[in-house]
């Protein structure tokens, strides 16, 4: 709490211009998951993840619209939205946290860093702590972020009915792949 306060005061003390330079964002990051088994291929990609990273503090937030996950099979997509994640009730999945070792990342020159993320994932109306390994790559004028983590369906109240239990994996593998750009010029 006090840490957040210090950050805020710090942020406020910076000029507006510097503040804008400090943030990186995207609205078309990719989130991919695999929840299949040997019996059934269950994969989907969401090309519309939005994300903001604050370079100075490491604060990191990302969100996806559940309905934007694209499956190969339309019926699977329908079931995913209707029966499993209930997209009408819980339209978004949100991750809010921070990059633990942000201090090591030099945003001024190109480089690649292994980092860790710590935060909370809200999915299907359930919020849980998620720690995940990631990678930040600073390139000319952009920042590439890669994160992977696992989601145990039961933890988020997503049930697998008996008839399809063997076809759906207990744990979904999630991969995030985003290309962030500086937020300069945006309010």
């Amino acid at each position: 709490m006090s840490w957040g306060c210090i950050c805020l005061v710090l942020l406020l003390s910076l000029s507006a211009g510097a503040l804008a330079q400090d943030k990186y964002y995207t609205r078309n990051g990719k989130v991919f998951f695999n929840c299949g088994t040997s019996l059934e291929t269950i994969k989907a990609t969401n090309p519309g993840a939005s994300c903001v990273l604050v370079a100075a503090t490491g604060q990191f937030q990302a969100a996806v619209l559940m309905k934007s996950f694209e499956f190969d099979k339309d019926l699977m997509e329908q079931h995913f939205n209707e029966n499993y994640v209930e997209s009408d009730k819980f339209p978004k999945a949100v991750y809010a946290g921070h990059v633990v070792d942000i201090a090591a990342v030099d945003f001024t020159s190109p480089g690649r860093y292994d980092v860790g993320l710590k935060g909370k994932l809200t999915l299907h109306g359930v919020t849980r702590e998620v720690e995940a390994p990631g990678e930040i790559e600073v390139q000319d004028g952009k920042v590439l972020v890669k994160v992977s983590f696992r989601v145990r369906l039961e933890d988020y109240g997503i049930t697998r009915p008996g008839v399809v239990r063997d076809k759906i994996a207990e744990v979904a593998e999630v991969k995030v792949d985003m290309e962030l750009q500086p937020m300069a010029g945006r309010p």
Binding site: S2, G4, V9, N83, R186
Partner: protein
Amino acid sequence: MRLDGIAAICLASLLAFMPVRAQELDLLSMIEPEEQPVERVRNAFKATRVINGHSIEMLAGGVLDFRILHRFGRLNDGSYELFGLDQASIRLGLDYGINDWLTVGVGRSTFRKEIDGLVKAKLVWQTSGGKSFPFSVVAVEGITMNTLKFADPERTNYFSSRLAYYHQLIIGRKFSDRISFQLSPTMVHRNLVDSFSTRHDLFALGAGGRIKITNRLAFTFDFFPVLDNWIHDTDYNHPLSVGFDIETGGHVFQLHFTNTRGMDERAFITDTEGRWSDGDIHFGFNISRVFTLGHGKDGRK
């Protein structure tokens, strides 16, 4: 100067008490697009048929739907006929989604050995988000061919006598996650009718709906009152069906009770023999199994 200091402390303490959550939400709201994306409302019904009649749902492009429909005999036939289960009438059908808004289909029914073909097009999508639109509009054109041997081979029989057509417009809305309702004005034209006094054209106003009970179970009904009964004083029975949609992995089972054996529009609008009030009720089921053949998804975004 001193006042400034107090103001700064006040501000700092205010900020300190601001919930962290609000601050977190701010980050993403900074990059929220001004306009909400337009989103097609989907899954108003679990299948492309409510029970007998077409629903506002379409097959996605590249999806083949194999439909197996059964209607048993009447419940009031009694235990000797095992309440109708000894007699089954079927329709086997294949529907294919050319793209997300156009579906073609064929079927073959036991009843009158009828072959039917249809073209179904979604003209207007119900949407939500930035530019929302309150309902969907679907048009269906169908043709049926009776392949029974002609009753009187002696007289001149024309091929066209076997044919009938139906034209249908469906206006429907998914009111909420659970409740969907649609109206479907339908006209059926028969080339050959039983007698001079029987009209070739019949009008019916279909109504269908569903109420979801759980994510995988829904109560459905469809009703096609034949308007000609009131306009021209005819005596058709109105087909009424009630049932449940049950969904498992790749199947949708529709179990229902109905007073008609007809499984295409010509059959159930013009050929409903039973009356609910007399107990002429048939148990029946539809099974839908879909196969994804291609990737014809064109209108997903």
